[in-house]
């Protein structure tokens, strides 16, 4: 990690788990998957900082590779995935008040190349059947950050059209910031995250399915960012957040198949609220268009909006503040993103390529906002991939 996030469940593993859960939850729609391997190469680049700033303007770049192996073992399905990321660039560090009261973002020096490696394994008993159980484990390591997680998920039918899914997970993270002595950072800190979730999936008719789910996350321990500072009066102090955070979320997902044109509509909505005061809405819309010759075109749009944590401000006036952070990720902003993927099937091979453009701004927040949140990031991502089915 170059700059730690606030609550630590990594969505890389989390989404994999969600996929496993929902395969069970909507078992009626998924044939058992055969043995397969997959590979993705991803490139991520942030836009240049366009506000008043001090420091390195070399923004963040990430190059990552993902590997996946799915196979049948001992009557169940084993899914193993590995990710390796290489990251470099500068990050928002703290914010100073300018002479006119407008914020000036101070950026860190560009980091040398950092690496993150992650390994995840999940075993599903009863994969592709009406009732399945998945256990999963993952481990992620960076020079200054380690995370270990265990998960359990279960799905079972509640009648012909309804499937119940539920599960729980635990994550233990350790952070040991670099240059702790030089910058007077905390030397060692830990945090734990526990999650519980449940979902119901309905087969609405022969063309559509709906899933509704809820999730509760609780994190405790060191939830601050050891690399970020805050301007409080004339002092520059370490980022200081509460030692616990509880988040509740609700999710709706809808899938509908169409014959003319031959495609499928994906609609997702997610609402989340946490004990720090952050409230977020996320809407995802995707269209999977089948084309002749084994081609598939997948355009997608996403909208995200969040309201700030109670203890967020770009900078603070002198006085007693128990908690304070100027991390833009805790501020009020919204983001619009759009992308398109193209896939081509040739025999047992699937080749894919895609791009996403993500643009974030404070005035994209739901209801609009003129809040000062310097450091909000826009980026462009792209990937190429290949998959092979053995069956």
């Amino acid at each position: 990690m170059t700059m730690a996030r606030t609550i630590s469940p990594s969505l890389a593993a989390l989404v994999g788990a969600a996929a496993a859960l929902t395969h069970g939850a909507a078992h009626a729609q998924s044939a058992p998957e055969g043995d397969h391997v997959g590979y993705r190469y991803n490139v991520y680049g942030e836009d240049a900082f366009d506000g008043a700033a001090i420091g390195s303007t070399q923004r963040y770049e990430v190059f990552s590779q993902q590997f996946q192996l799915g196979t049948h073992v001992a009557g169940g399905a084993l899914d193993v995935s590995a990710t390796h990321e290489v990251m470099s660039g500068s990050s928002p560090w703290y914010v100073l008040p300018g002479a006119d009261g407008r914020p000036i973002q101070v950026l860190s020096g560009a980091t040398i190349r950092e690496h993150r490696s992650e390994l995840r394994a999940a075993y599903t008993a009863g994969a592709g059947t009406a009732s399945s159980t998945t256990i999963s484990a993952s481990y992620s390591q960076e020079r200054d950050y380690r995370a270990t997680a265990l998960g359990f998920e279960r799905s079972r039918p509640l009648g012909a059209a309804l499937t119940l899914g539920y599960g729980a997970s635990l994550s233990h993270d350790i952070v040991q910031p670099t240059d702790a002595v030089l910058y007077d950072r905390i030397h060692h800190a830990e945090k734990n995250t526990a999650s519980a979730f449940g979902s119901l999936a309905w087969v609405l008719d022969r063309n559509s399915v709906l899933q509704a789910g809820v999730q509760l996350n609780h994190g405790d321990g060191y939830l601050s960012d050891p690399y970020k500072l805050v301007s409080v009066g004339s002092d520059i102090l370490p980022d200081t957040r509460p030692g616990a955070r509880t988040e509740g979320a609700a999710l709706l997902r809808y899938r509908r198949a169409f014959a003319h044109p031959d495609g499928a509509l994906h609609l997702d909505y997610r609402y989340a609220q946490d004990s720090w005061g952050i409230v977020s809405h996320t809407v995802d819309v995707g269209w999977y268009q089948r084309l002749p010759g084994g081609w598939q075109l997948v355009p997608a749009l996403r909208y995200y909006s969040q309201a700030a944590a109670r203890f967020y401000a770009p900078f603070f006036a002198p006085g007693e503040h128990r908690f304070f952070s100027s991390d833009y990720r805790l501020g009020t902003f919204g983001a619009l993103s759009g992308g398109v993927n193209v896939r081509k099937r040739i025999a047992r091979w699937d080749f894919s390529i895609g791009v996403e453009r993500y643009h974030a701004a404070t005035d994209y927040a739901l209801g609009g906002s003129d809040a000062a949140v310097p450091g909000v990031v826009s980026y462009t991502r792209g990937f190429v991939g290949v998959d092979y089915d053995f069956d």
Binding site: S8, P9, S10, A13, A161, A249, A257, R270, F383
Partner: protein, 72 residues
Amino acid sequence: MRIDRCAMLLAVVLLGACSTVPVQPWERGRLARWDMRWDPDPLQAAANAHAHFSKEGSDGQIGAAGGGCGCN
């Protein structure tokens, strides 16, 4: 008020879903298609979620925790 509106929307959707006619197994061919999965491409879904997770303040995902940070 936002929570109230979300709860009402959820209730309407759930009630609507409960009123559906059962679909027989032999009528589920379209539902079994690859593009009807919740996440047809788990690798890309994981990469998308990781990018969003590292830039936004709210997770709100459904599923098990795990992994690390890899963010700035």
